[in-house]
Symmetry: C2
Subunit: 79 residues, 2 copies
């Protein structure tokens, strides 16, 4: 069954307290090589038949993400 | 700067109420072609210098995910 991955990330200009908290924890635990962390959402959709990219993009941009503050990356990874 | 993506997904046998809620909403909104949804977390890490894959895997598996219920996918996507 075709599988579609949608990654939802905060726009670069939006502050990300969750990512900041992870970054702070990594620093305290000695992982100083990591200099930035952004946290987003990762959706895996099972799609019946041939994925309709336009419909999936609409789903991703309007239902899975808040387009005011979030960007969307769509990956049609095949079956 | 090298950028590393970590996707954290619930193990297949763990129930996913968030994904189920999204799936139900998509069905009610007429997107019947989507037959399954799983929701996870998506982290983007900025790494200074050459990424140390072993260290990043340890970070991902022990700090970003709960290995009891979650699986991790690590993508070293380069600079």
């Amino acid at each position: 069954m075709p599988r579609v991955v949608v990654d939802v990330v905060l726009k670069p200009e939006i502050s990300d307290p969750q990512g900041q908290a992870v970054l702070g924890a990594l620093g305290r635990l000695g992982h100083a090589g990591v200099t930035g962390v952004r946290q987003g959402k990762h959706f895996v959709l099972d799609v019946e038949g041939t994925p309709d990219e336009a419909e999936l993009r609409e789903i991703a941009e309007t239902l899975l993400a808040n387009p005011v503050i979030e960007d969307v990356e769509l990956h049609l990874s095949g079956s």
